[in-house]
Structure formats: structure tokens, C-alpha cells
């Protein structure tokens, strides 16, 4: 039991990083991770020792996120849960130049399915098969999301003087 606990605990920073970049807001992201950990722990018996615990945890987190977003949309009277990425998840250092800022601005403007795909592949460095499994989509769909996401980022960054949002130039 404590081995499993360690395996899960090791993934917490990664789950937080993914959640943070997916939903934008720090507290909301940590709530999502907490829900994920509870769910995982209550279903620990379903995880087969030796199989990919990272994919299993990310799948749980992703599904909880989808459910929460859907629930939110279907609740009348609530403002849409459109994430407001006013700031990067962490403050860029001095050396992080304009391009990093620009990437973040442009990334924030991507549709969520493309953000999720890019995060799993580029930041978490999952294989295409692993990421497709987490997102519950075929690899072909994943590849097309990655392609559209990267092309859109490229256009937004290449556009003269534009970083995909306001605030970059000021």
C-alpha cells in the first residue's frame, strides 16, 4: 500500500503542472488534483501493478476536468468557465524573453483540446499512444490536434507585433 502511495505522490507535481496549464487558475487546478488523488486512491484496487500509473492518474484527472467543465456549462446562472489566463502559471524570469511571453499568450488562446494535447506531448513528454489514451481519442485525432495547435501558435507568433493577445506590447 505504501509503495502505491509513493508512486502516486511522485506524480503529484506533474499532475499539478498539467492541471495548472490546463485550467489556468492555481487554486482551481489544485482542487482538480485533489479530486484526482481521492478518486485514484478510492480506486487503487483497479490499477494493475506494473502498468503505467502516470497514464492512469492523468486519465482520471482529465476526465474529472471534463466532467466539471460540462457540469459548469449545464448549470444555469453560472458564468462560463472560460479560463482567464491573465498571467503565465509562473512568473517568467528575466532571461525569459519576449518569445516565451508570446508563446504563453498564444498558447492561452488555443482551444482546450489542443492545449491538452500539446501539454501532454511537449511538457509531460508522453508518447503519442500514451497521450491519446489519457485523452480517450485515437492517435490520429491527437496528431491533428497537435498539428493545428502548433500551426496556430506559429502563426500567432509570426504575426508582426502580435503575441496572440493584448498585453505583450505594452
Amino acid at each position: 500500500m505504501s509503495d502505491m502511495r509513493h508512486l502516486i505522490v511522485d506524480q503529484i507535481p506533474h499532475l499539478r503542472r498539467y492541471a495548472r496549464a490546463l485550467v489556468g487558475d492555481r487554486a482551481q487546478a489544485d482542487d482538480l488534483v485533489q479530486d484526482c488523488l481521492e478518486r485514484a486512491w478510492s480506486r487503487m484496487h483497479l490499477w494493475t501493478v506494473g502498468t503505467n500509473i502516470r497514464a492512469w492518474l492523468f486519465t482520471i484527472l482529465h476526465n474529472l476536468h471534463l466532467n466539471a467543465a460540462r457540469k459548469h456549462r449545464n448549470t444555469p446562472g453560472l458564468v462560463p468557465l472560460e479560463t482567464t489566463f491573465t498571467e503565465p502559471p509562473v512568473r517568467p524570469t528575466q532571461e525569459d524573453q519576449l518569445e516565451v511571453q508570446q508563446v504563453w499568450q498564444a498558447f492561452s488562446a488555443l482551444p482546450e483540446p489542443q492545449r491538452a494535447a500539446l501539454l501532454l506531448i511537449t511538457v509531460e513528454e508522453m508518447s503519442y499512444e500514451e497521450a491519446a489514451g489519457v485523452l480517450g481519442i485515437p492517435v490520429g485525432t491527437l496528431m491533428s490536434r497537435i498539428h493545428r495547435g502548433r500551426e496556430r501558435l506559429r502563426r500567432l507568433m509570426d504575426a508582426p507585433g502580435a503575441g496572440g493577445g493584448q498585453g505583450v506590447e505594452q
Binding site: R17, Q34, H45, V90, T122
Partner: protein
């Protein structure tokens, strides 16, 4: 030269997901195609920027409370544990095949039950003279009465092993109809409540869900038409242990 390089392979190149032979072929292709090379360069810069921005999250100290609940295994009879394990696996397989997805209305209903339970807990547990309508001395009557009103066979779990004795219970009204509250107390006068509502339209079983508000920790779960919420002003891991005990007893 080589087979035409597909779009997807440019991405696989950037992501290091090509086998070495194909990787060399793509390198050769890029050397001869400046447009493709500039595309790959842009993808790489995006990747580096995102990683640079997000890497520090890994080094942040974890917020308090962000950890899987600690689980201490109570000593149970082996056969009983085996039976419980079988039930968990059967129930669990059904759950996992849905990949953790629940209909959103289930999650919302559970949230509502948690809220009602937390309020009922906060209202009645501070009561010293009249915390319950029917006391533990009349447990059989209490359980029968509440079962009749809710229209489902209820049970008051026995939590003596965990130091909690039944104080009694009461009938409450919930938005969906009648609700039952069982109250327990330990020698330190710490009280916990088990709130039960019935929703005839609902079936199936859900995993424990945790919420906390104003110092009241609540674990909720659904089991068939009954929704349960266990509330107490104790830390989550301690309440989790009680929730597991309650769940086990009510299932068996």
C-alpha cells in the same frame, strides 16, 4: 531519396518519437527544405518556451492537504476482507470501464447532498440537550421509523471499533424529500453524522467524493438509490477511515 515526409513525422521528429533510421531521413529532408526546417524550428521553440514556463511548478512545495489520503487497514476477518475485495473489484470494474466518467448530474447531485449534510451537521451537532429526535436506546425503533419514511431499508452502522457510539438520529427534509441523520460521538465528544437521502431515479455506485466547507469535512457516495454523506469536523484521513468502515458495513 526517401519516402515523402508526412506532416505527422515532422511532429514526431520534434518530439523525439521517430526511430533512429527515420530520424536521419527526416534530417536529410529538412536540410533540403528550408520551409519545413523553419516550421520545425518554430515547433521546437514553442516546446522549449512552454517547458521553461511550466518547469518551476514541479519545484513548488506541495500545498498542505494535497496528498492521497492515508489509509490504515483495520484488522478484519480474512474471509470478510476477501468478500469485501470481491465486491470492490466487481463494483470497480464497472466503474473503470467508464474511464472514471460519471454523468455530470450525478456529480452535481452528490455535491448537493454534501452541502445538505454539512448544513445538517453544523446545525445539530452543537446541540447538547436535543441533538437527536430518537436516542440510541431506541435504535431498533429509530432505524425502522426512518426506513419507513425513506422507503428503503436503512441501517445505523456500528462504529465502536473506531471509538464512536451512536447518539441517535432524526428525520430531516431535503429538497428531494425525506432525509435521515444518524449522529455518533466519541469519548472526546467529537461528533460525526451520517446523512442519508433517497433518490429512486438513481442507481449505481460511485466512489467517495470529498468536500470541505467551514471546517466540516464530508465524504459522499451513492449506493443504489441511497446517497450517503458522512460529515465531521475532523481531518480528511481520519474521516476517510470512518467512511470506509461505514461503507463496508452498509454493503454487507
Amino acid at each position: 531519396m526517401t519516402a515523402a515526409v508526412r506532416k505527422a513525422e515532422l511532429h514526431a521528429f520534434v518530439d523525439g518519437q521517430l526511430d533512429p533510421a527515420r530520424r536521419r531521413e527526416v534530417e536529410a529532408y529538412l536540410a533540403a527544405d528550408p520551409e519545413a526546417a523553419s516550421r520545425v524550428g518554430a515547433y521546437r521553440r514553442q516546446k522549449q518556451a512552454l517547458r521553461a514556463l511550466l518547469a518551476p511548478v514541479l519545484d513548488e512545495p506541495l500545498p498542505r492537504g494535497l496528498a492521497p489520503p492515508r489509509q490504515r487497514r483495520p484488522l478484519v476477518h480474512v474471509a470478510w476482507a476477501a468478500a469485501a475485495a470481491v465486491m470492490l473489484i466487481v463494483g470497480g470494474l464497472a466503474g473503470w470501464s467508464l474511464r472514471g466518467m460519471e454523468p455530470p448530474d450525478t456529480a452535481m447531485a452528490e455535491r448537493a447532498v454534501a452541502d445538505q449534510a454539512a448544513i445538517a451537521h453544523a446545525v445539530f451537532t452543537p446541540q447538547r440537550r436535543h441533538p437527536v429526535e430518537v436516542g440510541a436506546k431506541e435504535e431498533a425503533h429509530l432505524v425502522k421509523w426512518l426506513s419507513n419514511v425513506l422507503g428503503a431499508p436503512l441501517r445505523a452502522p456500528h462504529l465502536g471499533d473506531l471509538g464512536y457510539a451512536l447518539v441517535g438520529g432524526r428525520l430531516l427534509s431535503a429538497p428531494s424529500g425525506p432525509a435521515a441523520q444518524f449522529m455518533y460521538e466519541n469519548p472526546a465528544k467529537q461528533r460525526l453524522t451520517l446523512y442519508v437521502v433517497r433518490d429512486a431515479d438513481r442507481k449505481g455506485e460511485t466512489a467517495f467524493r470529498f468536500t470541505a466547507q467551514k471546517g466540516v469535512s464530508v465524504f459522499t457516495w451513492m449506493d443504489g438509490p441511497l446517497g450517503y454523506a458522512l460529515a465531521a469536523e475532523i481531518p480528511k484521513p481520519a474521516l476517510f477511515e470512518v467512511a470506509q468502515a461505514v461503507h463496508r458495513q452498509l454493503e454487507n
